[in-house]
Amino acid sequence: MGLLSIYFKSNFLGLLKCLNKLNWFIVFFSLINLSVCIYEDQIGKFDWRQTYVGRIKFSQFDTVSTAKKIIVATEENVLAALNLKTGQVVWRHVFESASTGNIQLLAITDKVVTVSGANPYLVRGWDSATGVLQWEWSLSLENDDQSDFSEWWVQNDLLIHMLPVFGSHLEVSMYHLATGQNRGYTSKLPASWARDSSCVVTPPYYTCISGEKGSQQLISLDVTSQAVQLITRPLSEYVNLETYDGGIRAVDGSSVIPAFTIEDKKIIMIKNNKFEMLTTNVGDASASVALIDIANGPVVLQAWMDDNQGFTMTAHSVATGAELPELRVTDRNLKLPDPEVSSAVCTKSNREQLVCRVLFNCGDDSMHLMQQGGRVLWSREEALANVVAIEFVELPVSDLDAAIESEFDQKEAAKMYSSIWAAFSRRLQTQFTQLQTLIQSIQRGEGLEEDAPSALVRDYFGLHKIIVLVTDVGKIFGMDNLSGAILWQYYEADLDTEGVVVFTRRTARHPPNDAYLTVVGKQEGTGNGLIISLNPITGTLIGERLLKLDVQLLQCTLLHRPDNEKLHALILLDKEENVQVLPRSAAPLVENMFMYVAERNTARVQGYALVFNGQEVEAIRTWLIQLGGAAGARIVRALAKPPAERVHSPGRVLPDRSVLYKYVNPNLVLFVTEGPDPVHKDVVVATCVDAASGAIVAAQVHRRARALPHAVHTEHYLAYLYYNDKHRRTEIATLELYEGKTRWLPAGAAFSSLSSERAPSVERQAFILSAAPTAAATTVTERSLTDKHVLLALSSGAVVEVPWVYLEARRGGSGEEGVVLPAHAPELPLSGDARLNYNRTLARPAAIHAAPAGLESTSLVLTTGLDLFYTRVAPSKTFDLLKDDFDYYLITVVLAGLIVATYSTKYFASRKMLKQAWK
């Protein structure tokens, strides 16, 4: 009996233990449920993708096949077919981004023909309807130095390659288009008159202006004809040589007629081996000229943009010089900077009407398809294929909410409502207006407009924001993050966006002051500073507006303290190490400011302290680090923490209930350098430097490796990527910095770089990444309470979310409160369900930008590159939001059923009681 009880007892304990374990398993699975993917029915619910092709290099209308298309080849090395009616991409091929992918020629015969690369060249033929490759062959030139001057065109199913050797001769080769067989020999045509700067190719003619100044000749040669036949005329026949200062330009557009302009004034075309000057002159010095063939003969098309008169397009008949009024367009409101006729096509409709389509390629990288009459059928903002800086901007609250908020604002309330009655009447007033808007919204709801664009006001969860994108060409866009629609655009041709930075200097939380955003860039040409300040909600210039500095900038930052107008001042350090504070009135606020300037090629990092001396702010050199040592390394990546980051959890609880405190130094900067090494070829060094004191906090060396410019840095952890040359694989190294099990500072005390003598303990680990990364970032949430995931963009077009637990240095052990960390494995898992963009592959992802939403659980992510992809991620699942598939219907039915059941049973119970009482 006792035996049995003992047996039973142990069994019971075992059961309990087993249950306990199970419990942990449940906790484990619920906490780090590592599958973060979405459900299939959520496709496109939180995300959108926009595909771009880049600035047009060549374009041609494909009117042969049934589905009408425009074939474009772009500066981004993309070949694409665009739908003629909508402008959407039908098919797209992305070539190599390096010079091996440069498209040299686009021609349309029965196939789409491209020549790409830079010696060796690849000639490919594509099916225009499906985009499938039909044939390709490679071609390499023996003369490598001159190959940059190669000219290509297609004539009668022959690919013609012409290589001018200036001052000597022209080498012309013809190849069979589909096979690459060399038909006819490489002929060398004597052309001692060919000059580098003053020659144009207008297939099949090669034309130069040659000769001594004052007696220049216009010489042209048909390079494909068997007999060498020079066309020579003195230039003085066409222009006044006394004022002539050079300038010969082939006409724009894919014209079939060989023609060119001289001095941007006269149009000359070659007909029957003769020069023929057109009676039409070029309308404007900046005009784009194109010759197109229409039913009544060739037409000269000209388009230009004037600041006062707006956009103008004219068309003149070549034969008579008479203007075609139906093609004339003048539009004051149309803003097409530097329009260039990329291609045009005109057909006659049944009723003898001219139907024209002109594709314009503008200076701001946008393309517009225009109909006769000036109607723009569609536009594509190809500048967005080259985004260089991003900022997420909060929307302002609605007027009503602002009124309610101001009511509860302590200071304001004290000012205005001294008596309790005033406050009460105001309360009633605001509630009345609330009621009014509610009624209005209900009335509007009954109307038709359900899909009306949502007003630009902050939503309850703070998920609606404006994305400000600065593009390479100098165009700034404001984009709605929920729909991806462009809200405003601002083009500044003078902005050189190399190293451009964007600051939100005032959010929209401070009515009546507008939100304030500043873009700090360079001026085209001089490299001097250029500052654009605008309201990110409307896109209008405010404050400093467009400020052109007359000095080059070294570094810029925001003052952490706002001034009276809640504006954060901009601090600029220029090349002479002078400091400018914008606005000037904020200079006295500068206190405890530090800056660093890192030189990319020498790996020299200079620290500065900014001090206000009563009149102005001075920059005092404080420390200097030569990161590469004497060997001469270069900085591949310098990365500080996100400035707005707040860390709300100071430590991590270990399984034994002790706390491991994080080393959270806001001044920490990670430098990844790469340099040569006598023994190990290349060495990658990651150095964590305290930017205020110049102290080196941690460092890590990787031998026989090449650095990649991708790193993440948040809270107490850092990760960076490098290519391991020895094992030929990409690796991701992580560093975690901890203060230890005791706190260095009392809780709540601010960290000071200058007074901390202790070094943090560093945990390190490296993992193999079985893909080629092109960008890295971490998720960002409002209060940093949610888990952090690392987002990696891969060259395959995927954006992958990797939970930090996989990168944790202590992986394999046990983590917080018994949570079992995933077992140590050398390779990071990159499964399909970790892929944020599922099968929406992104071409050439270049950068990932994450921003917090109003909800703590959610982070907004935008990936840029050739495509834009926006989504939102919830690293710890949406714990503060009902699931989007929450069944309101079911819960209502259940609740109603329960209520009915309660009342009916009550009724039946009372009847039973009554019956019993009668018995």
Partner: protein
Amino acid sequence: MKQLLSIVLSVCTFSHVLSAVNVPEEEVGNGRYSIEGKVFPPEELELGPWQVDTRIHVNGGEYIGFIRGDGTFVIHNVPSGSYVVEIIHPDYMYEPVRVEINSKGKFRARKVNYIQTSQVIQVPYPLRLKALSKFRYFQVREQWRLTDFLFNPMVIMMILPLLFIMILPKMMNDPETKEDLKQISNLAKMSEMPEMSEMFTSLFSGGAAAKASAAKAKQVKKRQ
């Protein structure tokens, strides 16, 4: 005279056709090679234009290849070295292959192994690449099923006592079962079963620790 000239010309053209044939070999001599292979689409896609969605990345996009209508591809002008060839398709997974070209132009293709980089498992060259499987991008939504509901422990916990309460008293009324029950209880008395009360006292006196751990578990659970 004219005739003679034309004959000379035609001879010239012939000689140039011959020289053109030799062109590809010259390229190889420059230290540039071509990686060749064939991609087999998954069966579901064989009809559509899968070639447009599929592309070949060599070393993460350093060289990009395109697939012809019949599934073959050539990546031109690759210098000797070691390359990872990946087939990228939005929906289907392909295994990457490492292709090594030595300075003499010999090709070797092997499986990519990032962990044991020296391990060589050769695969045939020219490459023949088949789709492994479809990517699983999405979570499967839980659907409401009656069995799930019935086998839910909470529901079982509710229903079983209900059964006992409702059915057992009815069974008691039945005279036959009454007799059966009696027999069972008699049997129980006869056997050497431990007494219920005794068992419980021994269990609780010795089981204090177990109880504490249970309480602890509860606490922890609450904290979660």
